[in-house]
Symmetry: C2
Amino acid sequence: MGPDSPEITLSIDGMGGDDAPAIVIDGLAIARVRHPHVRYVVHGDEAAIAPLLENHPDLTTHVQISHTDEAISMDDKPSQAVRRGRKTSMWRAIDSIRQGDAVAAVSAGNTGALMAMSKIQLKTLEGIDRPAIASLWPTELGESVVLDLGANVEADAKQLVDFAVMGATFSRIMTGLKAPKVGLLNIGTEELKGHDEIKAAAQMLRDLPLSMNFIGFVEGDGISAGHADVVVTDGFTGNIALKTAEGTAKLIMAYLKAALGRSLLSKLGALLAAGAFKILKAKLDPRAHNGGVFLGLNGIVVKSHGGTDALGFAAAVDVAVDMAEADLINQIIKEEQVVATVGEGEMTDGGAQSDSGAADKTAPAAQ
Amino acid sequence: MGPDSPEITLSIDGMGGDDAPAIVIDGLAIARVRHPHVRYVVHGDEAAIAPLLENHPDLTTHVQISHTDEAISMDDKPSQAVRRGRKTSMWRAIDSIRQGDAVAAVSAGNTGALMAMSKIQLKTLEGIDRPAIASLWPTELGESVVLDLGANVEADAKQLVDFAVMGATFSRIMTGLKAPKVGLLNIGTEELKGHDEIKAAAQMLRDLPLSMNFIGFVEGDGISAGHADVVVTDGFTGNIALKTAEGTAKLIMAYLKAALGRSLLSKLGALLAAGAFKILKAKLDPRAHNGGVFLGLNGIVVKSHGGTDALGFAAAVDVAVDMAEADLINQIIKEEQVVATVGEGEMTDGGAQSDSGAADKTAPAAQ
């Protein structure tokens, strides 16, 4: 939105992330230029944050420091974090949205602690059993939304339907598409393949009049091929897929580097093509896709990658601003009412039993 | 093995694969040079196969055609294939090992049909509930074994332990390592993370005196980083991980091509570095890692990729020869006796209930 947009306030965990608070403040300086109408409450150690603000005089009018001594470390377990967490910058960042002082929170801290605290403070939306983590995934056609990336280790049919609703809402806001293509991640595109939960979720998504174009199943290679605008899966599979993709990208870049270094000629070639490799690196730059959104809570929480820099943190702020200004929460609530009204009864047990077949459980998947 | 190795016979599905029987016969011509002591019974349409043999006069002494008119198509569902399959080249290729006429079977046909027929004809080994599909995966350190890649859509703790035993045996044969590093694929490396099945399997693998070095959990990016020699997971997750990696590789190569084509300078650079790109392509060539092994059956069945060429088919034959000569089946049986003896009782229900905790089910995973 432009400079005439109504002022909004974001709540920032100043101490989350490997290089906090420096990357946070430098990130906000970038965000200030992009979103001049946004104000920030930064929770954290004033003695550490105030000097950083001196480097960005323009930012001082946009940032208010809310001092606290304590912070969650990257190694804190979620349960520990919650127990001793009420004075931490992370807890307070979430508390700000609960109090209505801010419309969204951003943290580059520990994911597990952030999700645990968010659930306790914000609670899930009515009708949603479990929140999910969604993020953008680069594809051959642009970007797709993938969720759940690891908020839960399993999901029943109803929860997969919720994830589809929430992911489609995220996609509508990010892309402007009225009915994004939604697919369920599976080991084949035929109707008979996969877990019972997935088959039952597919049936519900076919039947419900939701604001999406449900296209059925998408396979692992269909994510980066861009077969769907939204790819829905449980948090275990989603997390494995995400990290496998990251590992594969790393492996290929290592292969490429080694191959280019093997002869004088290819070293020279690499030098001439340096511009192209820069473009490739930018395409694969995780900072460009930074900002995992916690969906399904009574409030907007955006998780920046812990190892990110100022540019990556600013990208996470971008996502938070988009979500807040598009009224993410109410859009999800509206769609969830369709699920609740139409699907009542048949969906309470997840429908997992309705479509079972012992033979399918051992049906091979690899082609 | 060298030319003095004892003669063995492989059974070949001559009609499986997109370009069969041509790639099969051309593949055997390559394999003949590598393994002069191996003979082949090729099941399929004699009228199609015999003329192809004329191109390879050296091969005629090594190949015996076993004629049959029928073949399984790539689109046949497993259940259809089994019903009408007894006269097909695929069924007969498996039957040859059941009859003792061959020590291993190779097919580039439909995976689902091949697994269904293999289970019916060969049955699983004593103590093994379910077979798994294993294959080599390129890593920063070389190659690792990953399984299950899609024989089943789920696995309980005992089955994951079986997969670990079978994968470690595969790895010992391929690498010569006495105690390969074995890891369970999970969404975090901490003990508390993941499904109950995985946690219970980890406990069993820690306790059992198996011929492996169990290293605990491996994350998605740990596969291609080479954190383990053997990565164990259920067939749903394994299939998604494999295809996500394939899709990511394709995406990056598309990015690279587009980036290199954007300026004259980078086009020139690409030309000079052509040798390097050839090396990169060879590194990523799926033919080099072709040959998914069906583990856990009373017989060795190797699945070649359906879209492969002669070189890829020859790689699948390599794997079959290695497995047969190293006596894969008896090695698995020996290790499974350790599982059966030590783990009796506690393992019959998969141990899945023993380690449960509702709180962990929603513990966030993404870091």
